[in-house]
Subunit: 331 residues, 2 copies
Amino acid sequence: MFSSGPFEHHVVGIGNAIVDVLAKTDDAFLERHNLVKGSMTLIDAEAAQTLYGEMGPAREISGGSAANTIAGIATLGGKAAFIGKIASDELGEIFAHDIRSLGVKFDTLPSDVAGPTARSFVLVTPDAQRTMNTYLGASQALSPVDIEEVLIKSSLITYLEGYLWDPEDAKQAFVKAMDIARGAGRAVALTLSDSFCVNRYREEFVGLVENRINILFANEQEISALYQTENFEEAVKHITGKVELAILTRSEKGAVILSEDGRIDIPAKQVTVRDTTGAGDLYAAGFLYALTHGFALEKCGKLAALCASEVISHLGARPEADLKEFLKDLD
Amino acid sequence: MFSSGPFEHHVVGIGNAIVDVLAKTDDAFLERHNLVKGSMTLIDAEAAQTLYGEMGPAREISGGSAANTIAGIATLGGKAAFIGKIASDELGEIFAHDIRSLGVKFDTLPSDVAGPTARSFVLVTPDAQRTMNTYLGASQALSPVDIEEVLIKSSLITYLEGYLWDPEDAKQAFVKAMDIARGAGRAVALTLSDSFCVNRYREEFVGLVENRINILFANEQEISALYQTENFEEAVKHITGKVELAILTRSEKGAVILSEDGRIDIPAKQVTVRDTTGAGDLYAAGFLYALTHGFALEKCGKLAALCASEVISHLGARPEADLKEFLKDLD
């Protein structure tokens, strides 16, 4: 699937550089603000100010979908890099500190032209679901010049989040990274990110998934949105044979891995869910770490499920436990 | 103890306006940086940058000793106000948002002359102890002009943290607030904050405690430092009769309340400790809420212990649970 020639990073992630602003809330608050539970909605600076003014006390934890995955891979002990745009402000410093402190290479130059560092207001309801409202700010300034050719070529896998398709310049950066990686015989992995995101760009995503990537991560809602069906097994039929490796996650129902060698069903790990933020991101972290370390697919799925179970057991989308412990549990 | 004439706030707190930057660490890290476990050390901008650069990924949660207490009182349903200095930056916005979103009146004008908003690097070791390194920044700009006379007079209790004695202008603000409150027949409460802080200003603190305040909060180490003894019961003898009300906390050994009516011993609530940050702050919150709502002293101590037990059960010094539930448990 990917050239195993000399490499410096197991995975380079490209995504929006976001600090999460997490607050507990209730269903009434979501209704009052017309927020769809479980979704990610993009908001402008004014809406961000209004929402922040009305929500309760919060905590700030570095986030961003691909960035969470990269943080997870680094925590597992993998060599990882991240490309994403912050502003030169305090939230940008927080984002940069948190990811670099894990040993992740993160050198993207900050930019102040598109606004302050991106923030996502993550509202967690008592059912542990998270509803996100994201002000992209500086993230929108990510552009093709930020994609370092050498970095992409020296990474076994380039991992992209579907959310990057929202800001126009970031989309161009996404395409550039994909082209470099494939040209170098490396693999490209994509997560569909969110069913609403899939609906915004469905046809483009079908083209990407079926023709330009090697590895697809999608949850049940996302793959169903991609193929406009409400039946998961029907979506499975659609995707089968269209991409080298598809990892379809179904929350407590586990995951389905589709490859040339057929289908593998992996059960989920039972855990008390406190906040689902980052579940898919850490699932991808476990999977990609394992895949780039030569684990069999079933073992990739098991490590992925363990990493996802850790992140949903607490508030925030970055791991709190030492994920390396899970590597021992696998044997 | 305090005039129960018409009032607008149960408690006004005055303290350093700080955002906590919390990270898990190990004993080796503390040793490498010559940090004394359990202490609060003041650091300058350069040391702050060095420490931050070397510590692991963190999360940002509003903090500040008196501010935590005020947040707790508001969460219990009390009417509370806070005076403290932030800068006009993103951490300042976070601090202001978090405290105002609880219904706390917080109108102190931001100032950028003394640096960015204060931050405390809170290092939590596996034994759940917290070691703090605080860069005071904008907090040092708190001065007597920030003490609104009307606000102090309209509050039953003015609550001050010993940490305020560090920045020179804040000390003057502290004295002004104390004078206004006493002049208006209201009560002044003080927490000694930290045994190292007590050692820095021991004689001044003895003067304050014995002559100018009504209510004292101190833990075992602080009261022992104040009276230079290693024997708690000896410290109790020293303080008995010197202040109208003394509340001495002893972690898992519970608390001792000293008043005109004698001594009351209150057991601690047994709980799994995850992070001791804010234990004393939330203890004071429960106690002051109860005291300003006419509860008997023993009940004040019980509510205080419940509030402290909540905050040490998770990372961060602000309550996560609805403390109002504890009011039901009291009956």
